[in-house]
Subunit: 470 residues, 2 copies
């Protein structure tokens, strides 16, 4: 464990906030809460910073602060957002915009900090919540009651580890581990090392019930929760804090934990940066794979990230489906969103398929179908026939013209003419209808050369490897 300790010590030095930073954050918290209280006091509300800043578990350099405005239930919902705007004004924030998760809130800039001003109702028990935001103050209460400074550092380590291996964040884009989940894991295991030790043996499903809500009827857990990882929320026994963790990320954390314990290294926390390939290297890497690439781009729909990534996932499935329906073999499809654009990157075994397809006809023993099949392919549909009809085993076959033998033509036809039945998600569909671009193989370089963030992502696509193995 000496090596583990050395790595941990060194990582902690990099991620633990400095005295100056702590002082700065404390002042910021006071300023925010004072301003908030000033605005909401009149209606019996209170303003309190929540999340990792409130819990004292933030990682050095993080500049996101959650300021919650907690209202009595007598205040009606429609007016809540006005108070958020008032607070933003009170602190003289810049770039104030309305954002949206489960419910609307206000996002504002203050210096280099991003302040989310979130309205919620004061509740005594999670079961009275109106939105999930209402539960947040209960989380803070619980966390503050169970943490000390040693545990705070352990949490920082776990969060940084999750970031390093690419599984940090409950949002749909990541489908990973939230900050609150990391905090609960450390409360449960007592230390980062004990957490990864146990995680390295996880098999889904892994169940953690810190407050022992289900200790007398554990079988209930299997019925209520069907995610690979179940961590019962200490403030709400009906909620799985780890509901967002995908099977893949569950196993990714397991494997990274195991690899870290076998050969501890800072690269698990700080993987080496991806250096985009030069355009020439990129082209040579593409052609050395001997596959074909299609990139489809459109403007990014103006929706919040979770909705966007839900739509992206659905659209990736739609592309996969279309290609599979027409018998193109997909190697991989991945999507990327830059600030302004969406990119679907499709890798195919072959962009061109034969002009023929072997079409299996009816069983010879089914008289009517056989007769119709033979008649069709010797008369009306004769033009589509390359070979046949012929009998193989007990069936009729023809080798007929494949409708789409070029994936580019197929996708263009779907995007231009059949988009409403394509399965592509609504907002992305709308964006594609306005404008899209398609790039094939070396044409992709024209994107690659002029869009650094795409170049980085495309390099990742080509090199696809777990970050700690980079």
């Amino acid at each position: 464990m000496e090596k583990v300790d050395a790595v941990i010590k060194s990582v902690l030095e990099r991620i633990k906030p400095t005295e100056d930073e702590i002082k700065e954050v404390k002042e910021l918290v006071k300023l925010l809460e004072d301003a908030g209280n000033k605005v909401v006091k009149e209606v019996g509300g209170t303003a309190k910073v929540q999340g990792s800043i409130a819990h004292g578990t933030w990682i050095s350099g993080e500049k996101d602060v959650d300021l919650f405005l907690i209202f009595p239930s007598t205040i009606d919902r429609e007016s809540l957002l006005d108070y958020c705007y008032k607070v933003a004004e009170e602190i003289n924030a810049s770039e104030v915009i309305e954002a949206y998760a489960e419910h609307p809130y206000v996002r504002a800039k203050l210096g280099d900090y991003t302040i989310d001003i979130v309205p919620c109702y004061k509740i005594a028990d999670a079961k009275f919540k109106v939105t999930s935001a209402d539960r947040t103050p209960l989380h803070t209460e619980y966390i503050l009651k169970h943490l000390d400074d040693r545990l705070r550092d352990e949490i920082r380590l776990l969060k940084q580890f999750m970031k390093g291996i690419g599984v940090y964040g409950a949002e749909i884009k990541v489908r990973g581990f939230s900050g609150y989940l990391c905090e609960l894991l450390i409360i449960h295991y007592g230390s980062f090392v004990d957490c990864v030790k146990d995680a390295s043996n996880w098999r889904h499903k892994k169940i953690i019930d810190i407050e022992g809500y289900y200790k007398d009827f554990p079988e209930k857990l299997n019925v209520i929760f069907n995610e690979p990882l179940v961590v019962v929320d200490p403030v709400d026994s009906s909620r799985n804090v780890a509901a967002s963790v995908s099977l893949e990320n569950f196993y990714r954390f397991r494997e990274a934990s195991r690899a870290f314990l076998m050969d501890p290294s800072e690269k698990f926390f700080f993987p080496s940066e991806i250096t985009p390939l030069s355009p020439e290297e990129c082209l040579s890497k593409m052609s050395s794979r001997g596959t074909d690439f299609i990139v489809i781009t459109c403007r990014k729909p103006n929706v919040v990230d979770d909705i966007l990534w839900g739509q992206i996932d659905k659209s990736v499935k739609a592309f996969r489906n279309i290609l599979k329906t027409w018998k193109f073999n997909v190697v991989r499809i991945e999507a990327y969103a830059s600030d302004e654009k969406l990119y679907f990157i499709i890798e195919l075994e072959h962009i061109r398929m034969p002009n023929i397809e072997i079409h299996r006809g009816p069983l010879v023993t089914i008289r009517i179908h056989s007769a119709n099949f033979v008649r069709k392919y010797t008369t009306t549909a004769k033009d589509e026939v390359f070979s046949g009809p012929y009998i193989r085993g007990g069936r009729w076959y023809v080798e007929r013209k494949r409708k789409y033998s070029d994936a580019r033509v197929l996708l263009l036809d779907y995007l231009l003419n059949k988009i409403d039945s394509s399965g592509i998600a609504s907002r992305i569909r709308r964006s594609i209808k306005k404008e899209f671009d398609m790039f094939i193989n070396e044409e992709i370089l024209s994107l690659y050369r002029f869009d650094d963030s795409f170049a980085k992502f495309f390099t990742c696509f080509l090199e696809k490897i777990e970050p700690w193995l980079r």
Copy 2:
């Protein structure tokens, strides 16, 4: 049925032997039997013509005669062939060679007739047979007892129909209906039309037991025989005369029968000839399919047809297997034997596959395998890796170099270096070891231009259609 009758009448005029032909054949039979008897009388044997000539069911123009030398069981097996040679000498035959089916016999030319001189033992009951040849005289006896001249014409029609639709012959190359089987079908059904009427409704399995050997325990038939068509041999209840009929040809006969009854035409008996495409048409047809073609040729092994086609079938399976193992998608593989050469024609979706293959690794939960997999593909086998290792769902994956991305290279490697473990049949293997050639796509034209019989077969391969639909 008027149209059927007209067709039948017209066909019969073409296939019924003329008076002159009958006279010529009768004289030939007498000459052969006299010569044969002269040779075998001294040892108590008799010579008798068998088969369709003896049954009077041959089709005009057929020039194959089976002369059987029937010996008492006291004559030892080794000396039988000597008598066959002596008979060949006696009739002054040319091109006398030793041939081989189940046992050796002698094949000789006399004018434009081919005479098979086959030795066998005289038996009273099929259960005493030493080889299947011994049973032949019993067949002749049975047939002669059950035929009249009307039935002989019905048999001629059925045989010609089988020829026309490509299912005539019990040999392995065809896996179809023997002459004797056609004779039994007519004895059973009474006429050609009644035979095809019933056949047009056949479903496998179809059982015909003319002598009613199994009428008291029909369930036994299902146990003893598992071919699609079962016709119990009237002279040997343990034998299925239709054992050679493949499922495909069973259904082909059914479908042709049905189509003939719906729209009677001489094309079922005399399908239009295949005109080989011009080399230019051939090339354009090949490229319009958008597939890739490989032709492998070698000298034809010097073995009898049934063994040859057994070996060819096995070798076709081997080629299919090799290509499938290495993930090449086969459209079709067919083989052709000319007088001197063998041709394997392979059509692939793509002759080139990507350089990468997605290689599925172990489940993440299997510690040792996971660790070995990751170690292997990040160290020793790193050179083979294009992407990965990465986790998808619950498994490790890499995208690694495909061993063979070109089917030509794959097949050359197998034919040159791995032929003994290739699955290709022994005699063909030996021939390939001596010399073979491989032709890809337009290279095939160099064969096509100079080998008419190949050109005809290759045209058939490209147009592949049931003969009566041509």
